[in-house]
Subunit: 236 residues, 2 copies
Amino acid sequence: VRVVLVETRNPLNIGAAARAMSNFGFFHLRVVNPYEVAYAEARSAVNASAVLARSQQYVTLAEAIADCTLVVGTTSVGPRVLEHSLRRLEAGGRIIRESDGPVALLFGSEKFGLSNEQLSYCHWLLRIPSRDEHGSMNLGQAVAICLYELIRSESEELRAPSPHRSAAAADVQRISEMALDCLRIAGYINEKTAESTEMKVRRVLLRAGIAEIDAPVWLGMFRQILWKLNNREPGS
Amino acid sequence: VRVVLVETRNPLNIGAAARAMSNFGFFHLRVVNPYEVAYAEARSAVNASAVLARSQQYVTLAEAIADCTLVVGTTSVGPRVLEHSLRRLEAGGRIIRESDGPVALLFGSEKFGLSNEQLSYCHWLLRIPSRDEHGSMNLGQAVAICLYELIRSESEELRAPSPHRSAAAADVQRISEMALDCLRIAGYINEKTAESTEMKVRRVLLRAGIAEIDAPVWLGMFRQILWKLNNREPGS
């Protein structure tokens, strides 16, 4: 995918687009007829990314997309009547991902978006499903969202730790017993209703969904409380 | 969903977060202990959104999340060892969408992210699946991507025009005949191979996938060429 910024005016937006590209692993940035000062400023920023350093500048949109087999324009769909097919990002993103040739993804100027002439180079248009009431999105955010959609995956995160394993029943049982010992000494358990109270405490601790790695902490807390209850100063 | 910005330093980022919220229809912005000047500047910007105007300021994170039943922190997972469960945005977003109580979505400061103390208020953590090599994302872009994921839908765009209907076979046939008339006069069709050439032309025009609304344009173009071919000046 080639990200093509057309007539961008704000250096912060060029930088933000490049940063989002780097975040998501896209490295081909092309700028068409940018506001020269903005482009120079973006490239010379201290935190300018390698993406920006390797970006290519074109005078015309036709040159910038010459090697692409699919050209997709982004739009916020203002009042203009659109001659093109329009796809939501979710559906359009799938087509882009499955494309077997280079794809150009076009973003127009901050103020006007893509002109009708620029749109005429596009096979179809892509729309981020934002609220109509609000109008257009920030350019850097629009680039980031489109690229996120392209790398999005329903597969599980491999490098992330999996949600903590639940403690084994035996561990929860030991915690419950320690808690019940505390509660007996503390006078929480009435002799008559002891059995139902004990069941309630066990149920509550089970429902707490204690993680395996937290079991020793729970046990330690109740053990310490129990120790204190058994060793308290008279009258304290 | 309540978007909670914790110790944000840059007014542009507060504004960008508010703008993305408005784009995607989220209206509860809470800021915790912001850099006062930044918050004031963001609120007074000419294009400050209604979201920002209605945002609420808190001194502590505990107050900002008090009414939430699920508290999710965002992280770029730096070198810190994480004590929390970590979910990719795709999977975590699903849980947030299905939550039946208010959810707080926390974003830390631009420089340090969420501190360990702030993370201790979170039920689990969310990670935008960006490249590890690149480090953290821009705050405004991170907010925009998370909210996009929450409103994302595989359903078809309802308000968008559907992709253009293909022209009926009869229309393509008429275009082909008009084109063949032109080609015959132009000397493109050799008598010996006429049949196979005509089939080739028909195949090519069928493969072009001409849209219904474009059929008259194609027909008009060939008709005009045909007229010119039949009415050309001698020697021209």
